[in-house]
Symmetry: D2
Subunit: 150 residues, 4 copies
Amino acid sequence: MTKLSAREIEDFLRGLTKRSDGEARFLVEELTDDFARLRMPARASHLRPGDTVSGPVQMTLADTAAWTQILRNLGLDAAASVTSNLNISFLRRPLAADLVAEARLLKLGKRLAVSEIRLFSEGDPAPVAHATVTYAVQRMSERARAPEAK
Amino acid sequence: MTKLSAREIEDFLRGLTKRSDGEARFLVEELTDDFARLRMPARASHLRPGDTVSGPVQMTLADTAAWTQILRNLGLDAAASVTSNLNISFLRRPLAADLVAEARLLKLGKRLAVSEIRLFSEGDPAPVAHATVTYAVQRMSERARAPEAK
Amino acid sequence: MTKLSAREIEDFLRGLTKRSDGEARFLVEELTDDFARLRMPARASHLRPGDTVSGPVQMTLADTAAWTQILRNLGLDAAASVTSNLNISFLRRPLAADLVAEARLLKLGKRLAVSEIRLFSEGDPAPVAHATVTYAVQRMSERARAPEAK
Amino acid sequence: MTKLSAREIEDFLRGLTKRSDGEARFLVEELTDDFARLRMPARASHLRPGDTVSGPVQMTLADTAAWTQILRNLGLDAAASVTSNLNISFLRRPLAADLVAEARLLKLGKRLAVSEIRLFSEGDPAPVAHATVTYAVQRMSERARAPEAK
């Protein structure tokens, strides 16, 4: 199977998460089998009083970064995989800047995939948050086979 | 100090999280010192393909429910308290219905407050998610005193 | 299938975790399909300077309480199930007393089981810790069938 | 303040966690301000049926590795710091070999310190577990000053 490229996954995400101005919500800057870097461009609606990026936005980016690692390794066949656990530590207040996620795949099992994600504000090397995300892997091809297997 | 009522905190939240149609995003249905029940009325924008409530919306409600427990016990003086850790397990797919949070305060320390939250779809007794939320307590009155104390 | 009783599971645990003095390490005080109460009697070796129960001992009791919920519902066939995630918040210093766990089963799926556990010191109603434990369910009977299914 | 060396912290740990045979339970192999590598030599009592390292032993090593990062940066003055949250994902079954922890300090605040830890079996590059550990920082020198500050 040819694996999806960063650009292909970015296009796939764009189709799912359209912004009203047509811009991409997530940019997939780098993607290999065990590493992904995503960027969420700064935009007014993420920002709260005090000019920072809200917690839910940080959680969404961490979760999406983990999901791209499943898409990369298993293809769109596994797009229906769902988050089973998300643990996030908020470390420092993000800047009013692009939010960048660096995700590392820790495990890709038949049932569970685990990624570790650091979030950064563009231009600052100290992480603003650290997340661990577990996905329950769901493959459409297995579901189709399931009735026969039983 | 007279503690804030469910209605007062609901009004406070409404001021912070206005919906474009003017409706409240969060209803505070019950509030005592160690228990809070919040409701997030179903609305189209929360719903994803397949008609369910997205993970970030669930996390937002859990986080907000924990925050109301700090406001209840410490007043608006502690409104600047920030989430330091959030752990959430997604248990089953929510229905396309109101999302209800039941939060129990496990600890209210000088520095940290910990709440345990179960999320339900209206009309279904099986929880859709379980979260543990830790807040780093920040009190404006202490900040003001801090320079003198040092 | 007749479900295992509290006593039967206590005996099973005793066989696995023998103390040198022959006493049970864990007592299973109450066990229904969705609730378990376990007790770990105070003993010198758990205690650290300052007379309290160590963190690893608390984690072990939480993990064991979740495991009994799997044994209760799925029988010894699922004894090989393994912990996939454990999240624990330490709330207050335990007393030098028996440690009691109250576990509630949040989900029992085909692949994952999730329990929520509160830990108490005997005689004190305020919880000393709160844990969420996820098990990856492994059934021996399924493993045996697996080769045919493929 | 001169910071403690790997050897000094290893000696300090040895004094707290004596094995009956007099050997060190934890070896501190590398220690800088933001990185620590600890090793727990394989020994029979850690091993369970099936010859692996138990979950509680893994949690203990992760927790100890995070603690050495506080001792390194704040000195023995902060030795009374306590774990407030530990989240661990068990990724694969460890070998019956030395267990190695690599800890990275994500945040060292006045109140909270957060470390991210990967655990490995000696000789295998795939991590067996991943933990995030939060410590509530307690400094003896501040406690002493506290009455005056109030």
